[in-house]
């Protein structure tokens, strides 16, 4: 009889917690930086100095200057305030508003559910950015109107998700048990439905931060968002796009800022999704 074979198993450790802390920390730093952006700027982002216009990156101006001689680093930092907070405001609003509509539809059922959901389908069937463009064109430019335009086309996604999640939850035994324990519909929704559907909604919202930031920047790029001279990443890229061939840093700096923020929020969203997945918990 031969010896018993022994095989070596590589044990995979779960770094989920560390990943969550890391990306959560990065997102936190980004938001804090945006909040204190005015005091973080090395120069006044509005101060023009044509003598040093279109200067290349140097020790004094790390990201160079734009065509009016404004310090690009300061403008990118200052721009984070508008770009990040308008995105968070937009995503927060559509998440709460859309989910409430979805929950209301799932709860009420019947014709009002059908009516609102067909309306949502109509919004979804429309090419999003074109619709936003139309809304922004009617209401005029400005960050507020851009947010409003994007909110108008984005809520159906959350309404549908919240509705389908709630309908699925309602079929589970614990919801029926709670109903039989004498819970009123309001208590059922607040105590059981909302906590249990918050996860998927939160993850969708996190992953949407990146998309929304791009769409807001896109609207600004097209001249329908923030108005110059207010620094905003999208409009900064738009302003400077004809310098791309000669002084690429003025366009690339806000572009890179968008890229970085979108990536951080997307990775955070992925991590939160893994973290909420019960399979990944002991």
């Amino acid at each position: 009889m031969s010896e018993v074979t022994v095989r070596v198993q590589v044990v995979r450790r779960d770094h989920l917690r560390r990943r969550l802390l890391f990306f959560g920390g990065l997102a936190g730093v980004l938001i804090l930086a945006a909040f204190f952006s005015s005091s973080l700027c090395p120069y006044d982002p509005y101060e023009q100095n044509l003598a040093i216009a279109k200067a290349a990156p140097s020790a004094e101006h790390w990201l160079g200057t734009d065509r009016y001689g404004r310090d690009m680093l300061s403008r990118v930092i200052a721009g984070s305030f508008t770009s990040i907070f308008s995105t968070l405001l937009l995503v927060g609003f559509i998440t709460v508003f859309g989910s409430l509509i979805g929950i209301f539809c799932a709860w009420s059922g019947k014709w009002i559910d059908t009516l609102i959901m067909r309306l949502a389908d109509m919004f979804l069937a429309f090419p999003g950015l074109v619709f936003a463009l139309a809304v922004a064109a009617v209401l005029g430019g400005g960050v507020h109107n851009a947010i409003f335009a994007l909110a108008a086309i984005s809520w159906p996604k959350y309404a549908r998700l919240a509705r389908s999640q709630m309908l699925a939850q309602q079929e589970l035994p614990y919801m029926q048990a709670a109903k039989m324990a004498g819970c009123t519909p309001l208590r059922l929704i607040c105590r059981h439905v909302v906590p249990n559907i918050a996860g998927p909604l939160l993850v969708t919202a996190m992953l949407d931060i990146g998309t929304m930031m791009m769409e807001l920047a896109g609207l600004s790029f097209l001249g329908l968002g923030a108005k110059p001279p207010i620094p905003e990443w999208g409009s900064m890229m738009s302003d400077t796009r004809n310098l791309l061939a000669t002084q690429p840093w003025v366009t690339l700096a806000p572009g890179f800022a968008i890229f970085l923020s979108v990536m951080i929020f997307n990775l955070l969203g992925d991590t939160v999704r893994d973290w909420l997945d019960p399979k990944n918990r002991r």
Partner: protein, 252 residues
């Protein structure tokens, strides 16, 4: 004496698509007396779970009437229906899904008491009494459903069902998802509770061997109808219908 539960000519039709429908329950009538243990036996698709859901008013009936302690609850909704849930509770098949994954078991059990006006302190004490009644440690109140075993979770579900002191428990395959050794423990618990609290059971089950010693009366369901009815010994010892005979012959 008024039966705890009386069901008259119950029908349920599910729409399959635009043209076709499925007759899940077809003209079913039966009653459950106070303190009686009645089993509904049937294979999948026989309509037994649909009956439980209709009796619990979790699904609307197509036709027929349901009387709970003499009151017609067939059309009740809202506050009036909630009031009647005091007398009737349901224990589900899957222990893991019958508690909110984000609430502790203690909160889940005490919820019904709180809804019916118990003070927090008193509800918590009552909840601990119920846990002990169902053979659980008091510490389990702090745990979440995924942290306890299937058997413990099902005991907690029974504790919750008993919180409002119902007269009737609907047990929808309440032991089917459990390991056999655990199933035996839960059946023993149910038998003890029935004696102590003189509960009536509607025991919905696919395993005829399980109900033989447990129930007073057996209803055999097949394709939406009750095909046979009697004491377990009558039904198992001398089945009148070929379907019942086939069912008994298939048991290993």
């Amino acid at each position: 004496m008024v039966p705890v539960l009386q069901v008259e000519h119950l029908r349920k039709v599910f729409p399959v698509d635009d043209r076709r429908t499925l007759l899940a329950v077809d003209d079913v009538s039966f009653s459950v007396a106070a303190g009686e243990k009645v089993a509904i036996i049937g294979e999948s698709g026989s309509g037994k779970t649909t009956i439980a859901r209709m009796v619990a008013r979790l699904t609307d009936v197509t036709a027929g009437r349901i009387f709970l302690q003499g009151t017609d609850i067939t059309q009740l909704t809202g506050r009036k229906l909630r009031e009647h849930y005091r007398h009737m509770q349901l224990v589900f098949q899957s222990p893991a899904d019958s508690f909110d994954p984000r609430c502790t078991l203690g909160d889940g059990i005490a919820e019904g008491l709180r809804n019916f006006g118990w003070q927090k302190q008193a509800a918590w004490q009552e909840m601990e009494r119920l846990l002990m009644l169902c053979g659980l440690e008091v510490e389990i109140a702090q745990r979440y459903p995924h942290e306890v075993s299937g058997g413990q979770c099902q005991r907690a579900a029974i504790a919750r069902a008993l919180a409002l002191r119902p007269k009737l428990l609907l047990l929808d395959e309440a032991t089917s998802a459990l390991d056999v050794t655990v199933q035996a423990d839960i059946l023993a618990l149910l038998a003890r509770l029935q004696r102590e609290l003189s509960l009536a059971y509607l025991f919905i089950c696919h395993d005829i061997a399980l109900v033989q010693d447990f129930c007073d009366r057996v209803l055999v369901m097949h394709e939406g109808r009750i095909v046979e009815e009697g004491t377990p010994d009558e039904v198992i010892g001398a089945p009148q219908q070929t379907y019942t005979q086939r069912l008994i012959d298939s048991v290993l």
